[in-house]
């Protein structure tokens, strides 16, 4: 009897039927981002469940936004939607589809293909508007979260190392905890906003929009998946460090944090734009990691050490001052290299939108540097000589605020497109990328 029961349970586990979720697109022809030598006669969408064809179930848009698809119909046990096409001229095309799923929900999606040319990513599909101000804000929150979490843990391990008073300990975990939650939430929000942009659906339909082309077919999406999983793991490790009072968990989370931060460098301008190389990706990672440690350290100094651990103020300030000098050198070195790479002409600084934002960012960086220099050259000698740290708390908060403003400009820059690179060789059909 027991054996029969066990076999029944195992049988149930190895013989899965279809999911109770709504219909999903399983296969499409032409394929997702496929480059075709000859124009296709029809579009065929194959689903995992039966679907009903809705009016305008498949629309095929030219780059000018003209729909060239004829009336679609469902075939083959209603699991396929098919639409005939006229002879398409050479160029990229955007397919927008919608179907009434078996469970009553309207599922929708977008993908691209090219006839004689490379297909653009879905983020450049016809109708997509590109990053908005809301996305800039969400990305800023993402950077802030990274600074609070990864930079905060780095500060605890490298600067405020050793046993820590309970009050400071509590503050440290609150700050890093908030940081990691912000990273996870703003990561999801950023992904959904990008999905909303390329799907171009009203909210009720967006709920059932297919985001998989973004998740699997773009660097942005793949990075989102990897970083979200990575930072969920880091959240668990930081929590375990709090629960068990073992710094080993913090070391692992810090190392993983620096590794996963590289996702932004491997999916951003430094990895996707013309002129990119392993060096540009490395420079971007150094720039971002150093900024994360610098801003996160400043916040920890102002919010954790100053109010919660007065006896460490002097030591922590002196140690952080030394670390910050190295970090600033790295930020400036990598930042200068990346600026030269993205803005090949000096006049790009005042003639392009990207240059304008970069100028404002540089202005704020100079302000932050001046603040840091004042701390380094005026406050540090005084502390070393007299041991007085008095009013530094407020100026640290102000310096942190300036540093966070720099991150806002960095977020805007990440979502902006740098000016095109000068063409020096025979033009090659490059894949269009926004990121």
């Amino acid at each position: 009897m027991k054996r029969a029961l066990l076999l029944a349970v195992l049988g149930a586990l190895v013989l899965p039927a279809s999911a109770f979720a709504h219909a999903s697109l399983r296969k499409e022809s032409p394929g997702f981002r496929q480059r075709l030598a000859a124009p296709p006669r029809q579009i065929v969408l194959q689903f995992d469940q039966t679907v009903d064809a809705l009016p305008k179930a498949i629309q095929v848009f030219t780059p000018r936004g003209t729909n060239v698809a004829e009336t679609p119909h469902a075939v083959q046990s209603a699991r396929e939607l098919v639409v005939s096409l006229p002879r398409l001229p050479k160029g990229p095309y955007t397919v927008r589809w919608q179907a009434l799923s078996n469970d009553g929900h309207i599922v929708s999606g977008v993908y691209t293909f090219g006839v004689g040319v490379p297909a653009p990513p879905v983020t450049d599909a016809v109708g997509a508007q590109g990053p908005t101000r809301t996305e800039d804000l969400v990305r800023w929150l993402y950077f802030l979260g990274l600074a609070l979490a990864v930079g905060g843990v780095g500060f605890r391990l490298l600067v405020a190392r050793g046993p820590i008073p309970p009050r400071a300990q509590k503050r440290f975990f609150w700050v890093t905890g908030i940081g990691i939650v912000v990273v996870l939430e703003s990561g999801i929000a950023g992904f959904l906003l990008r999905g909303e942009d390329f799907l171009q659906l009203p909210f009720s339909r967006f709920l059932y929009g297919d985001l998989s082309p973004l998740a699997t077919g773009t660097r942005f999406g793949q990075t989102f998946v990897i970083m979200e999983l990575g930072f969920a793991l880091i959240a668990a490790l930081i929590y375990l460090a709090w629960l068990t009072d073992r710094s080993a968990f913090l070391w692992v989370s810090f190392a993983l944090g620096l590794v996963f931060v590289s996702g932004l460098s491997l999916s951003g301008h430094s990895a996707a734009d013309a002129g990119h190389s392993w060096l540009s990706e490395l420079a971007d990672w150094v720039h971002l990691s150093s900024a994360t440690l610098w801003v996160g350290g400043l916040v920890q100094l102002a919010v954790v050490v100053w109010p919660g651990w007065p006896e460490l103020r002097r030591t922590a300030f002196l140690r952080f001052s030394r670390l910050a000098t190295v970090l600033i050198a790295l930020i400036l070195g990598a930042g200068t290299y990346l600026s030269i790479l993205r803005l090949p002409h000096v006049h790009d600084l005042w003639t392009t939108g990207y240059g304008h934002v970069l100028l404002v960012k540089l202005g704020l960086v100079v302000l932050a540097l001046a603040w840091g220099a004042a701390h380094h050259f005026l406050a540090v000698p005084r502390i070393e000589r007299d041991g007085v740290v008095g009013a530094l708390g407020r100026t640290l908060v102000a310096e942190s605020a300036v540093a966070m403003s720099v991150l806002l400009l960095a977020a805007v820059l990440t979502d902006s497109k740098p000016p095109p690179q000068p063409v020096t060789k025979t033009p090659v059909a490059a894949v269009s990328t926004r990121r």
Binding site: A12, L13, L15, P16, A17, S18, A19, F20, A21, H22, S24, L25, Q49, T50, N102, D103, G104, H105, V107, L184, I188, L192, G195, F206, L207, Y208, G209, D210, L211, S212, L214, A215, T216, G217, G221, Q222, F224, V225, E228, L229, A232, L233, A235, A236, Y239, W242, L243, T244
Partner: protein, 199 residues
């Protein structure tokens, strides 16, 4: 296409989590039968179910990130991942002695409310539209209704009724998740091998 290559069938994932919830339910039943004092005689046993809860939350993140074929599913799985982790973290904190107030149990009640709401929000059809709809409604209302048990446990930690109700809730949820087989009529269509799915 790395993500698509490693994506398991949705059915399998539902059953893995059903197994996790079943384990949780059985642990709650065992704790209720022997009583909290006997259960806590072995220190490691105190961490068993809070640890499982937390682990289920961590494991829910890949589900959120890999199943992006609709926005609502992504958000729902994301919310389950977060509340499972939060609830497990609070219960682990209490078990470890890091958190002292018994009212931290309210985190689990909040997690059940959020989870139930996520089930209901991501189902737009009525109860009897199909088995999927029925299960979503049943799971959602079970979780929302059963959130009174951890609230009762926070107020009266020794309440046998609250502990039994809490344990039974997880067993019911496991059964409902195991029933997640296809888009069939309410209870009649157990697999693709039984013929065409009902609309």
């Amino acid at each position: 296409m790395i993500v698509a290559g490693i994506e398991p069938q949705a059915e399998m994932v539902h059953w893995w989590f059903a197994t996790g919830v079943l384990i949780l339910g059985l642990l709650f039943v065992a704790e209720t039968i022997v009583g909290k004092e006997v259960w806590a005689r072995r220190p490691w046993r105190r961490y068993l179910w809070p640890g499982t809860l937390f682990l289920l939350g961590v494991l829910m993140w890949p589900v959120m990130a890999l199943y992006t074929n609709s926005m609502i599913h992504m958000v729902a799985h994301g919310s389950w991942a977060q509340v499972l982790m939060l609830s497990g973290a609070a219960e682990l904190g209490v078990a470890r002695g890091k958190l002292h107030s018994q009212y931290w149990r309210l985190t689990t009640a909040a997690a059940m409310l959020v989870s139930g709401t996520a089930f209901l929000v991501h189902e737009q059809n009525g109860w009897y539209f199909a088995r999927a709809a029925f299960l979503h409604h049943a799971l959602g209302w079970t979780l929302i209704g059963a959130s009174v048990f951890p609230i009762a446990q926070a107020i009266r930690p020794r309440s046998l009724v609250a502990a039994t109700g809490f344990a039974c809730t997880f067993l019911v949820i496991a059964v409902l998740l195991y029933s997640d087989r296809d888009t069939a009529a309410i209870f009649g269509h157990f697999s693709q091998f039984a013929g065409l799915p009902h609309r």
